[in-house]
Symmetry: C2
Subunit: 388 residues, 2 copies
């Protein structure tokens, strides 16, 4: 039986102290996975509707008192926690609705902290029916968003987590290689994306998505578009292994790549390498972003390129948050140093009128000296020989 | 380009009229699938975290004015609606956070209905950050839960939907047959559940879960438990095909089933048949529930049996709601007649100290004369011959 939290409670307590948060109620699949060492009740993991309600378990954590942690699961979740015991000392598996679970979580928090605590929640992952019960049960509590705090908490990966992310990335590369090596002109991008889904499943991955572009089109949603002979094919897929996202993009072609195709992918790789060269513990994130952008500026048509980078882990985009600046992707870590154990996804694409969408996306783990690539195979053209 | 709603707008308008609801904001994957004919943006379908926010599109429908419908998707969803065009006349693909999407949805509703409309929402599928923006944008609107109304709307399936559900059920049966025919004593239930997941993926299904019990244990969560030679194995899996859930349970064994195993499965089948015999359009749901319960009462140990039935479609449990009485499963249709096109899941299990968990779960579509089973294969013992 697992009796210890699988994460650094001192680090969490310090983050909570800094924000003045007394307790956390964790609800998102990615953060529950972090707090519970990957535990998730299989029955509702993927299909979360339960009758007229929705599966919505709560993990309660009181600052400085890991021994007072609790888990509120579902009425039939006894099977799950029997097969995979979890560490919180109090486990309530009696709820059948999100409201019931929230009412129980509020009651358990009240016995620990009284009624006027500051409680960190994940607003995007608390439904309004559950929140009505949280507020009713703790009318004097202040509920605050702890989404950023939780992202910070997960930013530095353990060696075991990096090992899982490495395996995941290698498996996505392998699945893509299987698709590329079996390309047939005339197949639709929908068929090819489905083939990748099946290969990823066979390799033990949980498939999330496949973006796919077949030249000259740069639309990346799987569609009825048919693959032309010698058309460049871009695959970009997210899949999870042991709860960690692998997000990889690779290029393939039926028959020998053209000179233009070779040059474009070489340019993309140059941008990727330029960014990667600046990755090391202690370096400012801004340096790697600047290196990638400068490399783009040296290209013959910088405006056709796009370069981004971001942290990755149990979510596809997480801390360190490096760029873009759109609201869900604030560039809030640019002036902070990278730390060993962070995992970065680095992506570059170019859109060419003839060769279409040419992209690489790679993951690297930050180390003291530089970085360690995860799943670096297949970064050249993956060629399906003609008449094979 | 699809320009017509793929559902009966008159029926929806009548339901909204009855409840006095002016407009709907649809957010759950199952109801968006219904309103948009299966459309879903592949990128965020399974992994819905987007940076610090969450993918949370809105479909707006104004009572009596299908032509004023709108869809609020994400900033990069242009690929998705280009590959699979959707019917709402107004499509906004500019949001990057749940808050932005909600603010846009509120604005679009206000231009159509003014500020004091009654708006039906799905409380379990609206996060509190989105709801804050809905309320801010429409401060005089009344937001009400339309979860039940939407379940009623989907209760009667079209022939095309039943066809998809039939294919889905047959594929789950086929995947289970592949697992049963390759059983090896000593395998863990976790390995077997993973094998089922892979087979379902290969057959084009979206795997949701596999509950698995290996006698004599009746715990159904996949675990490190190893399969004994000649132990009864129960598989119960949910998977989707074209957005519709197939939920099937079948039994298998390595070597010939024992006399006890044969008798138990025959008893389970007798309960299933008794309930099925009462299914026909116009019959009260209570009659089939009563028939199943009476059949259980005739068994040598009625207390070891469990019999349930429920509607099924884009959700595993939906209208008609027939039993259990737990809050998310109100038995609210017992005194209503069944209608042609409803799909029912009928489930019976018995727990025996020696043979373990013995279960069948089947789906049937209600017809004028009776019912049509979906995926009725493999309802006897699925035998893995010894020394095969």
């Amino acid at each position: 039986m697992t009796t210890q939290p699988p994460f650094d409670t001192q680090r969490l307590d310090a983050l909570l102290e800094e924000e003045g948060v007394d307790a956390l109620l964790v609800t998102s699949p990615h953060n529950l996975g972090y707090f519970l060492g990957g535990y998730r009740f299989v029955l509702y993991d993927k299909l979360d509707s339960v009758g007229l309600s929705r599966y919505s378990p709560f993990l309660g954590y009181v600052r400085g008192r890991a021994d007072q942690s609790f888990y509120v699961g579902w009425g039939d979740e006894g099977w799950g926690v029997a097969a995979d015991p979890i560490w919180p000392p109090e486990v309530r598996i009696e709820s059948w609705t999100a409201e019931d679970a929230a009412a129980t979580a509020a009651r358990l928090l009240e016995t620990r902290l009284g009624r006027d605590a500051r409680v960190g929640i994940e607003k995007p992952y608390v439904s309004i029916d559950a929140f009505e019960r949280l507020r009713a049960g703790l009318p004097e509590a202040r509920f605050e968003s702890s989404v950023i705090l939780l992202d910070e908490l997960r930013a530095i990966k353990t060696p075991e987590e990096i090992e899982a992310m490495t395996i995941g990335a290698e498996k996505v590369v392998e699945a893509m290689s299987l698709v590329f090596s079996s390309l047939e002109p005339g197949e639709t991008t929908r068929e090819l994306a489905e083939r990748l889904r099946v290969h990823e499943s066979q390799l033990g991955l949980e498939f999330h998505y496949c973006l796919i572009a077949a030249a000259p089109d740069a639309n990346r949603a799987p569609s009825a578009q048919r693959l032309d002979r010698a058309a460049a094919l871009s695959l970009d897929s997210g899949a999870s292994y042991q709860g960690f996202v692998a997000d990889i993009a690779r290029m393939g072609v039926y028959g020998e790549p053209t000179q233009l195709q070779k040059e474009l992918l070489a340019m993309v790789r140059r941008v990727q390498e330029a960014a990667r060269a600046e990755v090391r513990a202690g370096a400012l994130s801004a340096e790697l972003m600047e290196a990638g952008r400068s490399a783009v500026e040296e290209m013959p048509w910088p405006e056709r390129f796009n370069f981004v980078a971001h942290g990755m882990g149990r979510k596809a985009h997480e801390a360190p948050r490096l760029n873009q600046g759109k609201p869900p992707y604030p560039a809030s870590h640019l002036d902070e140093p990278l730390a060993a154990g962070m995992v970065l996804s680095i992506e570059t694409h170019v859109i060419d009128p003839e060769a279409g969408f040419v992209k690489l996306e790679d993951a690297v783990a930050v180390t003291a000296e530089g970085c360690e690539p995860l799943g670096d195979g297949g970064r050249d053209w993956n060629v399906r020989p003609e008449d094979a």
